[in-house]
């Protein structure tokens, strides 16, 4: 990979300042960015590690009951520390990559990258989470703008993600066993004001909400409620692992499984 200057500030303000440099990039756990840099798909001039900012690590419960996760919190910590407060989210975090990847990769890094097959975008969108940055708060519905594209401005740092805790939720990941990403994944969450269904790994536009299923499940939270629905393969990802039609079918299958598992 190309050479760069490495800095590791200990405060959010320090990181924000370092990211003002021309072609500076933030480094979370590096589990996507470092391989990308090896392939020269990314070539920052300055790499700003967020791993030294203590206030951006850890899981806590807000006064309104939401689960708050620091942007630099590794997946393994979320899997352990959110298990009691938001089991479906913890299970999702515990299924990302493999144990060594989960010890480095962070929630902020995953959401900032917005890989179209990543797991966390489904949890954030499916939970109606709030993405908190060093400058503002962004609703998940406004945050995801397509494959590898988000509402983040250059240099903006995800400091925290707030998840309202649902009455019931489940994430079903159809594993692509080579990459360990989701071939397709569906996150279903039932809240007092309705059901949210977020799909990852399927659309060329990245994570999306399946609104027809949300309406059907809000009226009747059972697998049978989505039986009569169909998902169009138009705009779905097609690759050697699965055709658009295959993925479209998986969306429905996994939604039913998630509803059944959520109870």
């Amino acid at each position: 990979m190309y050479a760069f200057d490495f800095v590791k500030p200990s405060s959010i303000d320090g990181a924000a300042e370092a990211l003002q440099e021309e072609e500076a990039m933030a480094l979370g756990g590096g589990q996507t960015l470092i391989p990308s840099m090896k392939q020269r798909l990314a070539a920052p001039s300055v790499l700003v590690s967020l791993g030294g900012i203590a206030e951006m690590r850890g899981v806590c419960i807000a006064d309104d009951g939401a689960v708050c996760i620091g942007g630099a919190t590794p997946h393994a910590v979320v899997a352990a520390e959110a298990a009691a407060s938001y089991p479906a989210l913890a299970a999702l975090a515990g299924g990302i990559g493999d144990p060594a990847v989960r010890n480095r990769g962070t929630i902020g890094g995953s959401l900032a990258n917005n890989d179209p097959s990543a797991c966390y975008p489904a949890a954030a969108l499916g939970s109606g989470a709030t993405i908190v940055t060093n400058t503002r708060k962004i609703a998940a519905d406004d945050y995801f703008e397509g494959m590898f594209t988000t509402a983040l401005e250059p240099g903006e740092i995800i400091t925290e993600v707030r998840f309202p805790v649902p009455q019931a939720a489940n994430y079903q990941k159809f594993l692509q066993p080579a990459s360990r990403f989701a071939l397709t994944g569906v996150f279903v969450a039932k809240y007092a004001d309705g059901v949210r269904v977020a799909v990852t790994g399927a659309s060329e536009g990245g994570v999306f909400r399946w609104s027809e299923a949300e309406a059907a499940l809000s009226a009747d939270f059972s697998p049978a409620a989505v039986e009569g629905l169909t998902v169009s393969p138009e705009g779905m990802i097609g690759d050697l692992h699965g055709t658009p039609a295959y993925r479209a079918n998986l969306v429905k299958v996994l939604t039913k499984r998630a509803v059944a598992a959520a109870g």
Partner: protein
């Protein structure tokens, strides 16, 4: 070049690195600890697994500068002080948990991380935990047996067929 210091296998070590120096390259080329292997260099295979502050990580996908000051344990730190094999290493030998041996350093480090958080894992838990460690020789059965044995459990039921 900047100077980096960390504790490796209980000893304070330092060396000159670039920002882009990977932890595995610092260990192998900077410190001469060549027991940690680079297999795929894409964070898939797990041959490069070491512990950073007690957690298993893929050292090909961590910058050395990012773990400055950390406690790092490599395969060289897994033996007994008298130079004999540690419990997990001995179990790998006893149960023929390796053939070519290339993946073995990462396997042993992942096994140690597993047993630290789950001292008596089931066979299924061991297989699940090793999903980020790829072995192309053994078919995994003997690796799983070795880890069962290292945890003090009966191995006779593991992949007996």
């Amino acid at each position: 070049m900047t100077k980096v210091s960390m504790t490796v296998n209980g000893r304070s070590m330092s060396g000159d690195i670039e920002g882009r120096t990977l932890l595995v390259d610092f260990l192998r080329q900077g410190l001469g600890l060549t027991g940690t292997h680079v297999g795929c260099d894409t964070s898939q295979c797990g041959a490069c697994v070491v512990h950073v502050d007690g957690k298993a990580v893929k050292s090909c996908t961590v910058f050395a500068a990012d773990v400055a000051g950390a406690e790092v344990t490599t395969i060289e730190g897994m033996g007994n002080p008298d130079g004999s094999l540690g419990v997990i290493q001995q179990a790998f030998q006893d149960h023929h948990g390796l053939q070519c041996g290339f993946c073995t350093p990462g396997m042993v480090m992942s096994a140690a991380a597993l047993l630290a958080e789950n001292p008596k894992p089931t066979e299924a838990e061991i297989r699940h935990y090793l999903e980020g460690n790829i072995c192309r020789c053994t078919g995994y059965h003997n690796i799983v047996k070795a880890i069962m044995a290292a945890s003090g459990q009966d191995v006779s039921a593991v992949a007996a067929e």
